[in-house]
Amino acid sequence: MYFNLKKLHLFGLMKSTIFNKIPYLALFLISGAVLFFGMDLFLGSVTIPFKSIINIILGDVNEKESWRIIILEARFPKTIAALLCGAALSVSGLQMQTLFRNPLAGPYILGISSGAGLGVAIFIMGLSFIGISTSDLSIATNSGIVISSILGSFTVLAILLALINRIKDIMTILILGVMIGSIITAIIGIIQYFSQDVQLKSFIMWTMGDLSAVTSNELLILTPIVFVGLIGSFIISKNLNAYLLGEEYAKSLGVNLKRARIIIILITSILTGSITAYCGPIGFIGIVIPHLARMLSNSSDHRILIPLSILLGINVLLIADIISQLPVLEQTLPINSITSLIGIPFIIWIILKNKKITNLN
């Protein structure tokens, strides 16, 4: 499974010396996160002096009203959303790759986001049946999307958890997750076929991912959920480490497999489900970041990989968000396209550099 990352010395720096590079790496990534966080707040169609941005965030009411609205209602929530999204999806992906011993597993492998998609599809397209257009009530629609998305992903999760108790082989669960995802995609296809242009567009927009869809009030809900998930993941890092040996050895070392599986899947669902509900499905971050973390740290230890994935995820998603709204562009690009454009070449590079990846068992 975990193909030989030793051979993938990024920029030839990796194999270096005995000294522990992890603290330096962490420091570097934290500085990066601060820098990109500032840039993400600063960049946009309206230029606001950096000093004013800081004043506004610190609660200064004497700054220009229009600037305050732009920062507090738009840029700040979006930047925080990018932060949460990067951290949550990266850790979800790491957990799934370890649980399924599969380097191409990601947060969406269990069909949880498809479930969220189905919820949203039923909500958006279903509204038209009762004669309400989604463009009519944008605020109600927004929270409706969130609620239906949570319900959708939770339904898939419940089905999975019910199955886990009966199934011994973890690979069977992986395949079931993929199958559930495919069935749901098919159902969404049927719903789309019978819906009207306006609804279809609303749904497609949701699937493109949108960090700016999160309002500051919603952040008050999303932030604690993501924190609980991330802390939970770190608490079970010892279990995740044991999983590296395979389920049989993990069991012989005292891991209660059934319970560990349920906890890992539950945390992943909380992280992925909540982010997907608020920001839409955002691809490839969850597959790519854990690999990047392993390559940079040269370690498989989750006590290192979890914090590192969080930092890397934050950096990459902030960069993606900055790219999506570069000043040269007339409009903001869909974030999902940016993460795919960054992520897919990286995955291809991993596959080509490392033949062992084809050896999935």
């Binding site: 975990y2 069991k251 498989s300």
Partner: protein, 254 residues
């Protein structure tokens, strides 16, 4: 201290389909036990059942007075360690950290090693003679080295019973003998009971205290001397082109 081991009315198999029925074995002291039998006759199934990887169909396995099948994973992990035939393939982990996995049942939630944990790890590394590998990455090792490191991990787990499924299968002659001698040493000097499956009956006869022979869907226990004198090994093969030479303790092909 001496370990006692009692298997009572044990029936093993997969999905209610039994492979071996009504196994009854008692062993009163620390022993090096090898399980021998032809492919597909239930060696691995037996070892997996005893180590709790596979549920028994019926019966009990009592070790030092406790029924192993009733224990939680956590309790079991302090009683039995295993080395299976499953290949472990991890990169990004140092050999010494791999051996440290054996301390998993004893460490806190973050897996921080205490002094005694470090002592057990170092002892296991010393016993397995793998000091030279300690700073290597696990993925760089040869199959034989991986097997020794895996055995070291099981030793670090410090359990009175160690169960190994074909522990010498990837090893060259020297490593093979070294590992068998190590198992013997663990039984004699470290109060362990060790059960391992093997196809190398000729070595097993020289080194083991007891051999569990699986033949015709029956498992029976013998000392090496009994096994040779009663000519039990000949029964394994139903043709005349292979014979067992009692004097040298080896098979001869005619």
């Amino acid at each position: 201290m001496s370990n006692t081991l009692k298997i009572a009315a044990l029936t093993i198999g997969y999905n209610k389909k039994s492979i071996l029925t009504n196994i009854d074995i008692i062993s009163q002291k620390n022993q090096l036990i090898s399980v021998f039998g032809r492919n597909g006759k239930g060696k691995s199934t037996l070892l997996k059942t005893l180590s709790g990887m596979l549920p028994a169909i019926t019966g009990h396995f009592i070790f030092n007075g406790v029924d192993v099948f009733n224990l939680s994973e956590k309790e079991k992990s302090k009683l039995i360690s295993i080395v299976s035939t499953t290949k472990t393939d991890i990169a990004g982990i140092k050999v010494s950290d791999f051996v440290a996995f054996g301390r998993y049942p004893y460490t806190n939630w973050l897996g921080i090693n205490k002094k005694e944990d470090d002592a057990e790890i170092n002892n296991a590394i010393y016993l397995c003679n793998i000091e030279n590998l300690c700073n290597k990455d696990y993925s760089e090792l040869s199959d034989g080295e991986k097997q020794k490191v895996n055995i070291a991990r099981a030793i670090a787990q410090n359990t009175p019973l160690i169960i190994l499924d074909e522990p010498t299968v990837h090893l060259d002659l020297i490593n093979n003998i070294e590992v068998l001698k190590l198992l013997k040493k663990l039984v004699e000097n470290h109060a362990k009971t060790i059960i391992f499956s093997t196809h190398q009956i000729e070595y097993a006869l020289q080194i083991c205290d007891e051999i569990w022979l699986i033949n015709n869907d029956i498992i029976a226990t013998y000392s090496p001397v009994e096994l040779i004198n009663k000519e039990k090994l000949k029964e394994l093969f139903d043709d005349d082109t292979i014979s067992f030479d009692k004097v040298t303790g080896t098979f001869k092909i005619r």
